[in-house]
């Protein structure tokens, strides 16, 4: 358990520091955040024609209300926690890779739900928007990470074939 904790914290701090580097922000994080905004718009457009994506900003053409997806809102931090947990736990490399890809998609799927919900909550009531944005959604995203990690542990225990430890 101690080994897991130390590895987890080590990977977490390393990935977090790498994510903060300017070249990584420009080459990976900001384009990814823009992609999230475009994806959210693509999902909303069939139901709401007034939505426009401008870079990392999601805007309602009629009301003018906009949300900007910033660091901490793109689900990358939550994904880093998940990756650190998966990387720190003893398993075969292929199992870790599958779990990281699936887990990342799972976290991002909920994050898109979060972005879309915040976009509409903000147009409806700003106090409710702030509550969900600052307090409730971060908790729900972390619970999502916890669920994915628990599923991973269960999957490893039940189905994973014997393989070399990484």
């Amino acid at each position: 358990m101690l080994r897991f904790l130390l590895l987890f914290i080590g990977v977490l701090i390393t990935l977090f520091s790498v994510e903060m580097l300017n070249p990584v922000q420009h080459a990976v994080i900001q384009p990814f955040t823009g992609l999230l905004a475009s994806l959210s718009t693509a999902l909303i457009l069939p139901f709401d024609q007034d939505v426009i994506a401008q870079g990392r900003v999601l805007r309602d053409g009629t009301s003018g209300f906009a949300v900007s997806i910033e660091s901490g809102c793109n689900g990358v931090e939550a994904a880093i926690v998940l990756v650190a947990g998966i990387a720190a736990f003893p398993a075969a490399l292929i199992q870790k890779c599958v779990a990281i890809v699936a887990g990342f998609l799972f976290v991002q799927a909920l994050n898109i739900v979060r972005i879309i919900s915040l976009f509409y909550l903000g147009q409806w009531n700003y106090t409710v928007f702030e509550w969900f944005h600052l307090y409730l959604w971060p908790v729900l995203i972390m619970l999502d990470v916890l669920v994915v990690f628990a599923i991973y542990l269960n999957w490893l225990g039940k189905n994973a074939p014997a393989a070399e430890t990484i």
Binding site: F16, Y135, V139, V147, G157
Partner: protein, 200 residues
């Protein structure tokens, strides 16, 4: 099965714990603000004058002021910059932790909650100090960075991101997981971990 029960119960309890946390206002933030005041006094003795609670806000008075658009020491400027920091940005970790712990079938839950609160207050104090560091950097800028003991801007940004965006949700999970030991859910997770480790 136990994990599913844990998650569902946590979600069901969250409206209650978050309601209590919000209704309690500054109560849950008080000890963290007190610790933060001590920490800031040691970290930035020539920058921070005092820090205290005002409602649910941490009010921080600096030793800098402004005169004719220039940032100067407060004595020269004749006024002091003050910052207001929303303590709820970090204290919601208590509501999350409360929901996690209440949803678990642990013994001595009240004792464990008090012990958990102690750790969370420590982490909250670090979070508040990180927000203060970021806000001081934005407000005062160069004179703040040139002060003795103040870390580089990148370190301030990193600690802010880590302690404010990540720790309020990660720390409760850590504390709760640690306190799970001996509970049925812990036994099940331990069995999963043993099986997984054995196969790997």
């Amino acid at each position: 099965m136990l994990m599913r029960r844990q998650i569902v119960l946590t979600l069901a309890l969250m409206p209650i714990t978050f309601g209590l946390w919000y209704a309690a206002g500054p109560l849950f933030a008080g000890p963290a603000v007190w610790l933060c005041d001590i920490a800031l006094g040691h970290l930035y003795p020539t920058v921070v004058d005092s820090a205290g609670l005002r409602g649910a806000e941490l009010q921080l008075t600096t030793q800098f002021g402004e005169l004719a658009g220039q940032i100067l020491p407060a004595k020269e400027a004749g006024n002091q910059f003050a910052l207001e920091i929303n303590t709820r940005l970090v204290s919601y970790s208590i509501a999350f932790y409360g929901a996690l712990l209440l949803a678990s079938n642990v013994q001595d839950s009240l004792y464990k909650f008090c012990a958990g609160l102690f750790w969370l207050w420590l982490i909250m104090a670090i979070g508040l100090a990180s927000i203060a560091g970021k806000d001081l950097l934005m407000l005062i800028g160069e004179p703040f960075l040139n002060t003795e003991l103040v870390p580089p801007a990148d370190v301030i940004a990193l600690t802010y991101q880590f302690n404010v965006l990540l720790m309020p949700t990660l720390a409760p999970v850590f504390v709760w997981f640690w306190q799970l030991q001996g509970s049925p859910l812990w036994e099940q997770l331990a069995a999963d971990i043993t099986r997984a480790s054995g196969r790997a």
